[in-house]
Amino acid sequence: MKPVTILSGHAVPLQRSDVDTDQIIPSDWLKRVERTGFGAGLFSEWRDDRSFVLNDERFQGATILVAGPNFGTGSSREHAVWALLDYGFEAVISSRFADIFFSNCTKQGLLPVTVSPEVADTLLAAVAADPGLEITIDVARGTVEAPAIALSATFTLEPFTTERFVNGWDDIGLTLRHSDELTEFEQSRPAFLPSTR
């Protein structure tokens, strides 16, 4: 994945809680065997509604999605992350993320930013009022800032996850450093464990 250090841009306010992965990318889209082209499917059922926030001209070009709590609940489909990235989002801000979605984000370089419910609400309201609001996220420092509204908040990632973002590390490459330990572990596994053969 490519390194992510500082993100600056406009945001889209998605004033909903429990946004599930079936909404982020409906199952029809899961039939594709490629990793690209999912942006068109992002929130596709909601986008049919003209008043849906992603259809609002004022938010075109936004790179940050601000959403209600419990974002990404539901299935393990990484397609949800591919769709957000392909559409142009680089970060999602919410007060709570579902575990698998969060983990999928970190594998693909979509920055999941967990802030307090108060900060999330403040940002949702501020972005809705001023679509041009400039937001800056600094991965290494763990900060979210919107100087125009004097907002400065922090977020935490596991230190190792921060390093992976900042350096753009590939997990498989990291794990293969431990190949010898893997082989050693394999030799100690109980013989009764099943084989699929």
């Binding site: 079936d22 039939k31 393990s76 990484e78 594998k107 693909q108």
Partner: protein
């Protein structure tokens, strides 16, 4: 050593490497693969020139896209067809056993693992599917992963993971007659919420859990993810051991006894502590019906549709109001008064033989309500054969239900089994998200018993209502 929980024991037994400040590297004993979340992972391997480290610990099945109509009919959707072909080709290229449509071992990935005996206590099991939590019913640590992680496991048979916290959900007392494992897990999700389990591995314990069959335990663990928990686990006991005895991939002879002793040792030690504890009294649980668009929006069947105005939390109030509008319901309607057009009995939550027996016992000698569509979709070919040997299919078809070939089917509507916009279903599956069963479709989650009774009366009902 200080007392440990089951989750901690399984974790420790699979630790390949630990460095402070980094995730632990855990060995994976079994990797289940299906057509939807794997193509991009195999592509990644090819691009990097990597192979599958342990094809002998990997198994694939076609389930999400397969049509459930007769096997000799072609797959009409060209994109589904291609995805299934890509799975077959990838498995052939990388040496992975794959159960394709029509294979005697084919079925929903979370149904075939246990029935083949590949799912055993104390194992680490992953799959690119969130309902991998199902396998925790055996005391395995089993969880869903994304496609990048699928690729990682294919390449290294391991995963870097940050250790989750542990939660005990103790279900005391006994379930009332007519109340099933599905009702119990829906009530648990209703109590702790869709986010209640985030960051935790849940262990279900207590008398009501110990008294469940393996099928019932799988139903409970299956829906752990609906409460946000990545995994759910139940301690292995005599029920677990008897279930595994004689299964195709279970050990045999002396190895079985050796394994059984090792399995039991995974149970949580006396005195081990959990990060969070929840206690639920089983005797208070009634048959449940979900009324909203997330699985925590659920109520006892005897209740009425709730009034969003009465919900204190603003986000939940807003979500409830939006759900009622999507579902076409009004606050205060008795749940029993809601008419359904379609009943779906299937999915990895409730498509095992015991579920089908229960549904058949309710439908036997009765007729599906006028104009209702009822789909019964067994979880695997093995379940289907067993059901047919017991004559269950004849009970279903005589009542007016459709008896289908195995697959995920209307659980997520990737195949032709879908709801039309506005169509309302009673479904034994696990997700009632907007559009989950087809665009604009309205899903109510229920147990197989409630689904079957609802099929007969045409509105939400329990088997007692048929008397």
């Amino acid at each position: 050593m200080s007392p440990r929980t089951m989750a901690e024991k399984v974790w420790d037994a699979h630790l390949v490497h630990r460095t402070d400040g980094e995730p632990d590297l855990l060995y994976i004993d079994l990797h289940l693969v299906h057509e939807v979340t794997s193509p991009q992972a195999f592509d990644g391997l090819r691009l990097a020139g990597r192979t599958v480290r342990r094809p002998d610990l990997t198994i694939a099945t076609a389930d999400h896209n397969v049509p459930t109509t007769a096997l000799d009919l072609p797959i009409e959707d060209p994109i589904s067809k291609k995805q299934l072909e890509v799975l077959t080709a990838n498995c052939a290229e990388f040496g992975i056993t794959c159960y394709n449509r029509g294979d005697e071992n084919q079925g929903i990935v979370h149904v075939i693992g246990p029935e083949l005996g590949l799912t055993q206590p104390g194992m680490t099991i992953v799959c690119g599917d969130s309902h991998t939590s199902t396998h925790g019913a055996f005391g395995a640590l089993a969880f869903g992963i994304g496609t990048s992680e699928v690729e990682h496991v294919l390449a290294t048979q391991s995963l870097p993971l940050i250790r989750p916290k542990t939660m005990a959900i103790t279900v005391t007392g006994a379930l009332r007659p007519g109340v099933t494992a599905k009702d119990l897990v829906l009530a648990i999700i209703g109590a702790i919420g869709t986010g209640g389990g985030i960051g935790y591995i849940v262990e279900y314990r207590g008398d009501a859990i110990a008294n469940l069959s393996m099928e019932g335990r799988m139903t409970v663990c299956n829906m752990s993810i609906e409460a946000g928990a990545r995994a759910g686990m139940i301690a292995p006991d005599a029920t677990t051991i008897e279930y595994l005895r004689g299964k195709a991939h279970a050990p045999t002879g002396a190895a079985f006894d050796e394994a059984a002793a090792a399995w039991l040792a995974f149970a949580t030690d006396e005195g081990a502590t959990f990060d969070r504890e929840v206690v639920i009294d089983a005797s208070t649980v009634e048959p449940q019906v979900s009324w909203g668009t997330n699985p925590a929006q659920v109520a006892p069947i005897s209740a009425t549709v709730p009034d969003p105005e009465a919900i204190a939390d603003p986000a939940e109030r807003d979500a409830a109001a939006r759900a009622l509008s999507y579902m076409g319901l009004t606050a205060g309607m008795p749940i029993r008064s809601i008419d359904v057009q379609t009943v779906f009995i299937g999915s990895c939550t409730n498509s095992r033989i015991e579920d089908l027996r229960l549904a058949a016992s309710v439908m036997e000698g009765r007729t599906v309500a006028e104009g209702r569509r009822v789909l019964v979709v067994p979880g695997s070919h093995r379940v289907k054969r067993q059901a047919e040997a017991e004559g269950l299919h004849e009970i279903f078809t005589a009542a007016g239900a459709e008896w289908r070939e195995p697959g995920c089917s209307m659980c997520l509507a990737m195949n032709p089994d879908k709801l039309a916009p506005g169509e309302r279903s009673a479904s034994t599956s696990n997700r009632n998200f907007e559009g989950r069963q087809g665009r604009g479709g309205r899903t109510h989650l229920v147990s197989p018993a409630v689904a079957a009774a609802t099929a007969i009366l045409g509105h939400f009902a329990t088997p007692e209502d048929l008397q």
